[in-house]
Every structure is written in structure tokens, then in C-alpha cells.
């Protein structure tokens, strides 16, 4: 390793920005195809064959559609929709009802306990923060957390008493739905 290793130049796809060899796993391989045929024909030898075949298909399709114009159009439309939905990723999951408690260390020996997800149980956050503040005799406030969600920040480390308090004050919240975050992992409180 005496001489400088030269930086490797990687061919990135102009459409999806990934290295060209990963296009097939990218978000939209279909869109990358024309770019790939043009810029990296060696990587996907099948692609060119396919595109040729596709063109042939198109010609035959055209011939068919001229024959029976109305019938040919309808079955192809729903098919396209189905395909489209899949690469877009999963359909948004319904939000799980759970309360997540995290301790954030603020100043070496001071910390803040954040409580997320109480609103999913129909608890008014402003009321809840007031109650928490009163119970633990600390400051508690409703704060906009990441991803635009509101959460309650309570000063001080109350992570152990808080579970009992939540289940006592709001019986709707089962203690199985309360989680701690420890070392970035979710740990059930109960």
C-alpha cells in the first residue's frame, strides 16, 4: 500500500442514482431501463433482447387493437394499476396504539422523559402534561416531536413511576401497550 489507491469510478444510474448494477432492485426499474440500454448495455444483456421483443409485441398489439379496439383496451387497464401499487412500497400500516417512553439525557446528569403516543388512546395531551407535571412536581410540556407528532416532555427521570401513573390515570391504556426505548430498542414495560 505504498502508492495511493486510486478512487474507483462507479457508474451511477442517471435515473435512480444507484450504481447501475443495482437498478434492477431500485424503486423503478422500468424507468431506468431506457437509460441502462443506452449507457450500460453490458450489465443487462437480457434487457436489449427484451426491448426488442417488446417492440415486436407492440406491433402485434397494434394490429390486434385495430381489429377489436374496444375489447383490447379494457382488460389491460386494471392490470397496470395492480403493478403500479406494488413497487410503491407497502400500503401504510394502521398506526399501532402504543405509548412509547424514552429517556433523553440532557446535561450529563439531567434528563428529559418523553412520552409519545398518548393521543392515540384519546387522551388530551395538554391535560396529560398538566397531570404529569403535578404528579412529579416538574415541568411538563407538549412539544412537537420529530415527524410532526406531538409528544409530552417531562423534566427529570420518571421513566419507572410513569407506567403505573399512566395505567392508573387512564384505564384505557393497558400496560402491555407501554414501551420503553432502551439503547434504541423497544422494550415492553410490563
Amino acid at each position: 500500500m505504498a502508492e495511493k489507491p486510486q478512487p474507483v469510478r462507479v457508474l451511477y444510474c442517471g435515473v435512480c442514482s444507484m450504481p447501475a448494477e443495482y437498478c434492477e432492485f431500485g424503486p423503478d426499474f422500468e424507468k431506468c431501463k431506457p437509460w441502462l440500454i443506452h449507457n450500460a448495455p453490458d450489465l443487462y444483456p437480457d434487457l436489449i433482447k427484451q426491448s426488442n421483443a417488446n417492440e415486436a409485441d407492440k406491433v402485434t398489439e397494434q394490429l390486434q387493437s385495430t381489429g377489436m379496439s374496444s375489447d383490447g383496451a379494457t382488460p389491460s387497464a386494471p392490470k397496470q394499476e395492480e403493478v403500479k401499487r406494488l413497487p410503491g412500497g407497502k400500503i401504510k400500516k394502521k398506526e399501532k396504539q402504543e405509548v412509547v417512553i424514552e429517556k433523553v439525557i440532557r446535561n450529563k446528569r439531567k434528563c428529559i422523559t418523553t412520552v409519545k403516543g398518548l393521543e392515540l388512546f384519546g387522551v388530551k395531551l395538554s391535560d396529560a402534561s398538566k397531570k404529569l407535571g403535578k404528579k412529579f412536581a416538574t415541568g411538563a410540556s407538549v412539544v412537537k416531536g420529530p415527524t410532526e407528532k406531538e409528544q409530552i416532555d417531562v423534566q427529570g427521570d420518571i421513566s419507572y413511576d410513569i407506567v403505573e401513573f399512566i395505567t392508573d390515570t387512564w384505564p384505557d391504556v393497558p400496560d402491555t401497550a407501554i414501551f420503553f426505548i432502551e439503547d434504541g430498542r423497544k422494550v415492553p414495560a410490563a
Binding site: 489507491p5 478512487p7 474507483v8 462507479v10 435512480c16 444507484m18 450504481p19 443495482y22 431500485g26
Partner: protein, 181 residues
């Protein structure tokens, strides 16, 4: 980790002190000895090094607005994939089989069977909690950067569950952020 990552998550950007800069350089050089000859080019001594603090105790090391390294809390510095593609031999490599690629590219952690199957490969020397490059069967370039949860030997013998945490993968938020401004 970077699945949803954008410049909005950067809470503060600081030009760091020379002493901190030296420390960062040193730890990078220790972690990646193969990078040492080009380190002067990557992190020029003259130009300012900027550290961007982000949410979840994440730090990005920027040079000329380009993210080059990241670390979590006080963990080891890891190169971004764009940098790793340029200097692929600086990290220990793991290889996953073809079936795992699409999951890894969706942000999944790397499970042991994907590494031990015929399409996968392991670097025997890797201990737990070290950064590794994740390569893929039949591909030249890395597709992710991971942080091992078990040592390579354990991965082989246990062969179950998460072997490597996926830190940064192709087309995630950090990948898309070529420059930060």
C-alpha cells in the same frame, strides 16, 4: 437508520476546532488504515471540517458540504456509501446472497442465513460491533454499510436472527443527500 433522512434532521452544523478535527482524523485513520494514503485528499488539513449534528445522536462529517463519514454517539466513524464505492477495500466485507438484496435495499437488517448461504460470504476475522461493508452476490459494489451484532464466528455457528445492523444502504436518505447546505 437513514430510511427517512433529510436535511431537516440536521439540527446544527459546526465548523469544528482544530483539535477535534485532529481527533476525528485520527480515529478514522485508526479504523481504516487503508484510507491513510488518501486521507489528506479526503480531509484536507487546510479546509474546514464541518460536523453536522442530527437527531438520534448522529453526527455527519462534511467536507465542502459533502458528507463523508457518519457516526452514532461515540461509535466508530463509518464512510458513506459514495465514499466506500470509491475506495472499496478499506472495510471488511460481508456478502449476502441474491435473495437478500431487495430486503437490504429496503432497509432491513442483515440476517445470518443470508450471509452463510452459498451466495454469501463472511470475513472470518470480524468481531462483534465493527463496521463492515455489505456486498452482494454477483455485484461489484457495496450495497450497504452495517455494524455487526455478533462476530463472524457466531454468525456462522448461531445462524439465526440479526447478524449485522443495517446502517446505511443504497437509496436511503443519506444516499440521496449528496450535498448538504
Amino acid at each position: 437508520m437513514f430510511k427517512k433522512f433529510s436535511s431537516e434532521e440536521v439540527s446544527a452544523q459546526n465548523q469544528v476546532k482544530a483539535s477535534v478535527q485532529r481527533k476525528i482524523r485520527q480515529s478514522i485513520a485508526e479504523e481504516y488504515p487503508g484510507l491513510e494514503p488518501v486521507l489528506d485528499e479526503l480531509l484536507p488539513k487546510k479546509s474546514a471540517l464541518v460536523v453536522a449534528k442530527c437527531q438520534n445522536h448522529l453526527n455527519l462529517v462534511l467536507v465542502n458540504d459533502v458528507p463523508l463519514f457518519f457516526n452514532i454517539r461515540d461509535g466508530p466513524y463509518m464512510p458513506t456509501l459514495r465514499l466506500l464505492h470509491q475506495y472499496p477495500n478499506i472495510m471488511k466485507k460481508f456478502q449476502v446472497d441474491r435473495g437478500a438484496i431487495k430486503f437490504v435495499l429496503a432497509g432491513a437488517n442483515i440476517m445470518c442465513p443470508g450471509l452463510t448461504s452459498p451466495g454469501g460470504a463472511l470475513d472470518e476475522e470480524v468481531e462483534a460491533e465493527t463496521p463492515v461493508a455489505i456486498m452482494a452476490e454477483g455485484k461489484q459494489h457495496a450495497l450497504a454499510i452495517g455494524f455487526t451484532k455478533m462476530s463472524a464466528k457466531d454468525i456462522k455457528s448461531i445462524n439465526k436472527g440479526i447478524g449485522v445492523d443495517n446502517m446505511h444502504y443504497l437509496n436511503d436518505g443519506l444516499w440521496k443527500m449528496e450535498r448538504l447546505n
